[in-house]
Symmetry: C2
Subunit: 234 residues, 2 copies
């Protein structure tokens, strides 16, 4: 009985996510689902990326998923992007219905929409949000064994961002081992290395997002198409 209900919940979510995917494609919006453990640095990455993307004349908005508090949305607005806070009140992940409700509050779709998921390397991996790209943020102090231990988060991602590289000198973190483990569950994974403390690697990540958006727009069939970016991009 429990399994039947879980299947129904996931099936409902898939249908809602497919509708969001169509909507993002029609609105020429690159939607990026950001996953990672609590404290991996997801909000800090956005604080750095938002001004870089805005300087490239792209509009950016953020949906902030948190169990409690609206602190992250406040940080995002200071960084220069509108933010809609989704407070899940105990729920361990965002789902497509929550994103749909947040979009109604947001109004117009931006060029780039970041969806910062609840800090959790497990449950969010099971819930599609209609995203074009899924980034999993792995911070150096968490350890290089995390892709082995939490494979689903890495299997479903388009890129891993190895963050807090400034702490590498003080932690036992073997980058080659982490990348090998992540690629063993997902050979197509793009890899970025960043530090929000000193800005290292952020330009490369921003350029990759721009390239993903450009290639999706170039290859995409007319706006009425139902294809997601990922369906048609190389």
């Amino acid at each position: 009985m429990r399994i039947v209900v879980v299947k129904r919940v996931l099936g409902d979510n898939e249908r809602r996510a497919a509708r969001l995917r169509q909507r993002f494609a029609a609105g020429r919006c690159l939607a990026v689902n950001l996953l990672g453990s609590p404290g991996a640095g997801k909000t800090a990455l956005l604080e750095r990326l938002i001004p870089m993307l805005r300087r490239r004349r792209l509009s950016v908005a953020v949906i902030e998923g948190d169990i409690a508090t609206t602190r992250d949305a406040e940080r995002i607005e200071k960084a220069g992007a509108p933010a809609v806070q989704v407070t899940t009140r105990g729920v361990c992940h965002l789902d497509a219905a929550m994103v749909g409700a947040a979009l109604r509050k947001l109004g117009r779709l931006p060029d780039v929409l970041f969806i910062e998921n609840v800090g959790n390397l497990v449950c969010p991996a099971a819930f599609a949000l209609g995203e074009s790209e899924r980034l999993v943020v792995l911070s150096v102090p968490e350890g290089d064994d995390k892709p082995d231990k939490y494979p689903a988060a890495f299997a479903g991602a388009s890129a891993v961002v190895i963050n807090k590289l400034d702490l590498a000198a003080y932690c036992k973190f073997n980058k080659a081992r982490a990348v090998l483990a992540a690629r063993s569950v997902n050979p197509a994974l793009a890899v970025f290395e960043t530090s929000c403390a000193d800005g290292f690697g952020l330009r490369e990540l921003a350029e990759w997002l721009l390239a993903r958006r450009a290639s999706a727009l170039a290859l995409r069939r007319p706006a009425a198409s139902t294809g997601s970016f990922r369906d048609v991009a190389p």
Copy 2:
């Protein structure tokens, strides 16, 4: 319908946890449920605590919860304690039924049983495992705002262990703010500060565990009692 099933699942778990609690009390076993984000340092803490407790002539065993891999159980056995690995295959938390099954593999109850939960600051908080003490591990690089953002994990704990204190010089972490936030959801919370890199603070944590066990045994009614340690300890 979904809510009804979730309630039933949690109700079943409460009943199983109550039976485990009786069993731990009858067996004079201090059961410690260890919660924390991926990479907070839960296994490293156990690697340090096991030899300290064994030198005090206590038997120690560990139930290791992981989504995938048996790596943590191997680390624990090297540290000198028997370990039973529970591989949840995607499930985001341990529940009382999983702990019951692991106990059957373990055989005799030890003086101190550590149950290392899946790395997740959200879902494990909802599932009692019959434990006498619940420790939540918060590592310095995760940030001092985590008790505000993940309140349930802190509300249900008996102690918070602020770990990776050796990284405090390289992270923006305001300890007073973290403690204030944690105690605002749980005024009775004990606070420890540790570093597994240099051993700082581990003796205090081990002494606290010994004291909790001693006071539970001293105050406990005869072995047939149904009270948990926490029910009768001050």
